[in-house]
């Protein structure tokens, strides 16, 4: 059972208790009527309202039917002469008619559409509110004969005022009832033939209400009086019981689906922003938690609208059970709607069909995004693999060739220093050592170019300062952090600085350069600036272009400002996860 159903069940229990309790009060104070039938009217409204809430979650009609039942049975409770109960009962019973009028005018979508409709319903609620205020200010239960009421009399107790306001509110009906029917007539006139068909249950409802009013004069709940009158009364009650069922039938009829589909088609009639399709579908289906997944490779993979991989849940999986409706197109799966299992399957398919081409477009975009993500990820992997390879080569050189050569140099030195070595041999060893040291120096520079040891050993700030130490143009370095970053980020930032400084030395004719490294808000900012001739161009020269590519691979941004004669500024921002 879903959470929503649990709540609805709990609500149902409370409401049934409310109505049965109210009926018990009527029996207790001896109201002469058939209590079974009277309770059945209320229960039918409550049950119809609950079903409507369950099956049409976004529709207000269910709420209004329940509100009517709750309000109407306040009247029964007001017979209980305890404390403030009579007054609360009178106030609570006031708006019951307004709720029914509201439900009728808002039928079948549960929404009032025009300003006039809202005005009419607002007026009816307003009249009720005025009466409630008068009751609150002037109703005195003791004057009304309630001797046991512990309620302090109202501020201005006046029986006349209460009775007058009640009678005035009845007179107001001479205004509100015609306005109400005018609104209904206008609604009818504006409706398309299809919408008029949807209104048929409403007309049946009106007919029933009219019949009830007609019979009111003949009916009497008193079993001991006229047999005909009592029969009329029972018939009237049965018609009242049928009223909410008629509403419910209309609400659940598939024609309502068409009006949701119609709204959706209207919403589709303009370009949609990303995510709007999901919102439109969710609104049409009345399921705010609706999700849409798109099928890639004939349903082998599923992604959301942003192209992120995600699998549709299996039925019954997760804390809240979800239903999955797969939409097929041209023989293969197109999309999957993950929705509340209470939704009508036909309605879901109708809505998906209405979204048709939009779903297809969104799937193509999701596919594109998924591919773009994959390309980005693979570019990042390629660059990272390259860096890893550079580190590995540098490490192998360090632990292998460089270490062996250093040992060799030591061995030669020992050989040369041995007693009794032929001077000619010693000189030859000396020359070899000298060559070997030259080779070691060259190897050192080579390894440094491949991947500087200090970057691995001490991180970015230290490596950048080492670059500055070695630069022919004076470079000032400013760093606002000390910690380590991830290896790919350190490598990219390092090569940005290295290449930029190399460019400064080669082309800029600068007197000085500056490097700034700063970390804030999860971003590493690298700026290399000089006071040289400027005029650098990213599109020419593979150096800057290659840097831009490397930066993009770690999802960073790369910018160069280099006006002729105005120096060059290379500015790179790289998102950095957490400190290593």
């Amino acid at each position: 059972m879903t959470r929503r159903r649990c709540w609805l069940t709990a609500l149902g229990v409370v409401l049934v208790a409310w109505i049965v309790g109210a009926e018990w009060v009527s029996i207790h104070v001896g109201v002469p009527e058939n209590h079974f039938i009277d309770a059945a009217v209320g229960l039918s409204f409550v049950l119809a309202g609950l079903v409507a809430l369950d099956r049409r979650p976004g529709n207000a009609t269910g709420v209004l039917m329940i509100a009517y039942a709750v309000s109407a049975y306040f009247g029964n409770w007001s017979n209980l002469n305890i404390a403030a109960v009579p007054m609360i009962g009178m106030i609570g019973a006031q708006p019951s008619g307004a709720f029914i009028a509201h439900a009728a005018l808002a039928y079948p979508t549960g929404r009032l559409r025009t300003r006039f409709e809202r005005f009419v319903i607002g007026l009816i609620y307003g009249v009720n509110a005025v009466v409630c205020v008068v009751i609150l200010l002037a109703f005195d239960p003791r004057a009304d004969g309630c001797t046991r009421c512990a309620w302090e009399p109202a501020p201005f107790p006046s029986r006349t005022a209460v009775l007058t306001s009640l009678s005035l509110s009845q007179r107001a009906a001479f205004l509100t009832v015609p306005l109400f029917f005018l609104a209904v007539w206008l609604r009818w006139r504006r409706s398309t033939p299809a919408e008029r068909r949807d209104l048929i249950p409403l007309w049946i409802g009106f007919a029933v209400v009219g019949l009830v009013y007609l019979m009111d004069g003949f009916a009497s709940p008193d079993t001991t009086a006229d047999q005909f009158s009592y029969l009329m009364w029972e018939l009237q009650s049965v018609l009242q019981i049928s009223l909410p069922l008629i509403f419910l039938w209309g609400l659940l009829a598939t024609r309502l689906a068409r009006s949701a589909v119609g709204d959706l088609v209207v919403a589709m009639d303009r370009p949609l922003l990303p995510g709007e399709l999901r919102a439109a579908l969710a609104k049409a289906l009345g399921d705010p938690l609706l999700r849409v997944l798109y099928a890639l490779d004939d349903g082998d993979h599923w992604v959301d609208a942003d192209g992120r991989p995600e699998s549709p849940p299996r039925p019954g999986e997760g804390r809240r059970a979800k239903a999955v409706t797969v939409i097929d197109r041209a023989g293969g799966p197109l999309a999957a709607l993950i929705h509340d299992p209470a939704l009508d399957a036909g309605l879901v398919r109708a809505v998906a069909a209405a979204a048709g081409i939009r779903l297809e477009n969104e799937r193509l975009q999701a596919d594109l995004r998924a591919q773009l993500d994959e390309v980005r990820a693979s570019r990042q992997r390629i660059v990272e693999a390259g860096d890893r390879e550079r580190r590995r080569v540098e490490r192998n050189l360090h632990d292998g060739a460089q270490q062996r050569l250093a040992t060799l140099v030591l061995s030669l030195a020992m050989l040369r220093d041995r007693d009794g070595v032929d001077p000619a041999l010693a000189a030859s060893i000396e020359a070899t050592t000298s060559d070997l040291k030259q080779a070691i120096a060259e190897l050192r520079e080579l390894a440094r170019g491949i991947h500087p040891a200090i970057l691995t050993e001490e991180g970015l700030p230290a490596a950048v300062e080492a670059l500055a130490d070695r630069s022919a143009v004076p470079v000032q370095v400013r760093t606002d952090f000390e910690g380590r970053l991830s290896e790919p980020v350190e490598a990219v930032a390092y090569f940005v600085v290295a290449e930029s400084i190399a460019n400064v030395i080669k082309y800029a004719q600068a007197r000085a350069a500056r490097v700034e490294l700063s970390r804030r808000d999860g971003v590493l900012l690298v700026e290399v600036s000089d006071d040289g001739v400027g005029g650098a161009d990213v599109s020419h020269g593979s150096g800057l272009r290659g840097l831009a590519d490397r930066v993009a691979a770690v999802r960073g941004t790369f910018g160069v400002q280099s006006p002729p004669g105005g120096g060059t500024l290379v500015r790179v921002e790289i998102p950095v996860p957490a400190e290593r």
Binding site: H398, T407, L412, K437, I440, S471
Partner: protein, 233 residues
């Protein structure tokens, strides 16, 4: 060359212990063993060998050597644990000098070593061991309380200062500066470059004037002052 070296050795004006006790740390056994033999031949007592930083710290604690010679990059992370160990040794065992060897020299590392403990530290390229006498002399100077910085560091710093007219040193002055950075006294520099004491003193004075430094009394402070100035920090 050989003559110059022996002269330099003989002219050492520091008082090193009679037999210098040395601990060696390098993850290459071959290199370590070679170094141990060379130092033993030169009259050093190699009292311990280590393959990583932990073993080095243990050897220093156990043997209390005069000098610990260590590689920068060692297992397990193959990063800069040798350098960190060197700094720890200087902090925890003030009587033990350290000589850090590396395939690379970085000014920043040199200055960090010197700044934390200006005396009894050395920082040399690994292939400097090709000149055994020179290398032994460096270890000896550290044992006696001096400091030794690789000529390459000074060269790097001077390259940076090339555009600075004020600090334009003559070739001879640069030679002397490099030797100063290696922790040599004026007397040792005289012997090394075949110059009179007077000439060297004149050059040193000129260097200090050009760099705008006050002449420093002891040799290792002189090293630090020169490096710090050159780096411009």
């Amino acid at each position: 060359m050989n003559a110059a070296m022996s002269a330099a050795t003989g002219a050492a004006d520091v008082t090193a212990p009679a037999v210098i006790r040395v601990v060696l740390a390098d993850d290459s056994v071959l290199f370590r063993e070679g170094l141990a033999r060379v130092l033993a031949d030169r009259g050093f007592a190699v009292v311990g060998q280590a393959g990583d930083a932990d073993e080095l710290m243990a050897a220093v604690r156990g043997q209390a050597p005069d000098v610990a010679v260590t590689d920068v990059r060692m297992p397990p992370t193959n990063s800069n644990e040798g350098l960190l160990a060197a700094q720890r040794i200087r902090a925890e065992h003030p009587g033990v000098g350290v000589l850090v060897l590396s395939h690379y020299v970085e000014t920043r590392q040199a200055i960090r070593l010197l700044r934390d403990a200006p005396a009894r530290v050395g920082y040399l390229l690994k292939d400097r061991v090709s000149d055994i006498a020179e290398f032994a002399e460096a270890v000896r100077r550290i044992a006696a309380g001096g400091s030794v910085i690789d000529a390459e560091v000074v060269a790097q710093l001077l390259r940076r200062r090339e555009n600075d007219a004020r600090a334009k040193l003559t070739a001879r002055e640069q030679d002397i500066l490099e030797l100063m950075a290696q922790g040599r006294s004026n007397a040792a520099i005289c012997a090394r470059l075949y110059l009179s004491q007077k000439t060297v003193e004149t050059h040193v004075g000129s260097i200090f004037t050009k760099l705008g430094l006050l002449p420093a009394a002891d040799d290792h402070r002189r090293v630090l002052a020169v490096l710090t100035y050159l780096r411009g920090s």
